[in-house]
């Protein structure tokens, strides 16, 4: 799974921001907490991962422009991605102090993004404060991450220095694609065949 780091360009001026740890976890009506990831199965190479991130940032900026609320200082910039495994995400529930009952990754196409995946946490009902539980979740996700895979979107080449220089390296270290060449090739072929069946053009 890949988690995209997108933030306002203004953040680059503030070293005080722990940029990689910003993660929007939204409260759901059923009491769960929801985040977003990209599934490697549908973003089989770095190119697809970054294209997904660039499209996300571009869509958000475009949505602001449409309603007349775009502010260049708050222009959203895709900086890169961190990798983490579905297994490590699900294991968060085994940490008693995390306050998580279960953690699921569910493929869910959203806004036309075929790699989009919901990250859903069901929380323990034992009195843990929900905001502190979100912090615990982010801590566990951070400690399960490797990276960053930095990137500069074509539309952001005017930004110097690029804010991707603020992306910290997580405890697991730099990203390494440990898949064999055969597995990578298989992943790409499988993805292309799936696209062809779905009628997508990429």
């Amino acid at each position: 799974m890949f988690r995209h780091a997108i933030h306002p360009v203004s953040f680059q001026k503030r070293v005080v921001f722990a940029v990689p740890k910003f993660w929007n976890l939204t409260d759901q009506p059923d009491g769960s907490v929801l985040g977003s990831l990209a599934w490697e199965r549908y973003a089989p190479t770095g190119r697809y991962v970054h294209e997904h991130g660039c499209r996300l940032a571009s869509r958000r900026n475009e949505a602001k422009r449409r309603v007349g609320k775009y502010d260049e200082k708050q222009r959203q910039v895709y900086c890169g991605a961190y990798q983490l495994s579905a297994k490590s995400i699900r294991s968060i529930a085994s940490d008693q102090l995390a306050g998580v009952l279960s953690a699921d990754v569910i493929h869910q196409v959203e806004e036309g993004e075929i790699a989009h995946t919901d990250l859903r946490f069901h929380l323990q009902a034992d009195g843990f404060d929900i905001e502190a539980t979100k912090t615990a979740i982010i801590d566990r996700l951070w400690n399960a991450s490797s990276g960053p895979l930095t990137h500069v979107c074509h539309c952001d080449r005017d930004i110097t220095p690029h804010p991707n220089s603020h992306l910290d390296t997580p405890p697991l270290g730099a990203y390494r694609d440990n898949r064999s060449m055969a597995l990578r090739l298989w992943g790409l072929i499988r993805f292309k065949v799936w696209l062809w069946f779905q009628g997508f053009r990429f």
């Binding site: 921001f17 102090l97 979100k134 912090t135 801590d139 400690n143 697991l172």
Partner: protein, 208 residues
């Protein structure tokens, strides 16, 4: 218009630009209920009287966060203050937006940390209802987080393998906890300081 038998409670609020000794812990301002009583005359109008109440209605401007005394965030904390201010300026629905009561609470906590010479934290959020102050040990193997909501603070210490400690701290006890927190920032030292403020300041969930 309230009638003569209605009880109306006013919030006890005091905001000043100068830091005050006692400040948030000044006992005059906790546990107070202000009752508006009708005047003795038949004319309309109300006079406010003060009365202490056994069942304390602890009211502050933002839930139980005593907004008493804004410390100017300066020096290393100046940037933190500006970053917090910036986070209030995002549009509703933006993921970096924080609510005004959260901003106020965070400034208060930052002021307390600054006053105790705690190194400034890094900052992030995961929604509008809180901000998180984060310190990382020099060898990157432990993290300390303070999750600051409008009405509570939670502390969490973690290692790469698991969450080590998790406690909730009452705002009124925060100044006492600061000394222990400042000792824990190194995060390589004996964590008995954490146990001290855990047992002294809050209920705790912990694991050795």
């Amino acid at each position: 218009m309230p009638n003569r038998t209605d009880k109306v409670y006013l919030q006890a609020v005091m905001v000043s630009s100068e830091p005050e000794e006692g400040g948030a812990l000044d006992s005059r301002w906790t546990g107070q209920a202000y009752r508006i009583a009708p005047r003795q005359s038949t004319t309309s109008g109300l006079a406010a009287t003060t009365a202490q109440s056994e069942s304390a209605i602890v009211r502050h401007m933002f839930s139980n966060v005593p907004v008493i005394g804004y410390r100017e965030l300066s020096g290393d904390y100046g940037e933190l203050g500006q970053a917090l201010s910036e986070m209030t300026q995002f549009e509703q629905g933006d993921e970096w937006k924080i609510e005004p009561p959260v901003y106020e609470a965070a400034r208060y906590v930052a002021g307390q940390l600054m006053a105790k010479d705690v190194p400034p934290p890094r900052l992030f959020n995961h929604g509008p209802k809180s901000v998180v102050f984060n310190w990382t040990s020099s060898n990157n193997d432990k993290n300390l987080y303070l999750t600051v909501s409008a009405d509570k603070i939670s502390a969490l210490i973690s290692s790469p393998a698991r969450i080590e400690r998790r406690v909730e701290i009452d705002y009124s006890k925060l100044p006492n906890a600061i000394y222990a927190l400042s000792a824990s920032i190194e995060l390589g030292a004996d964590d008995r300081q954490i146990i001290l403020f855990v047992t002294g300041a809050a209920s705790a969930s912990s694991r050795r």
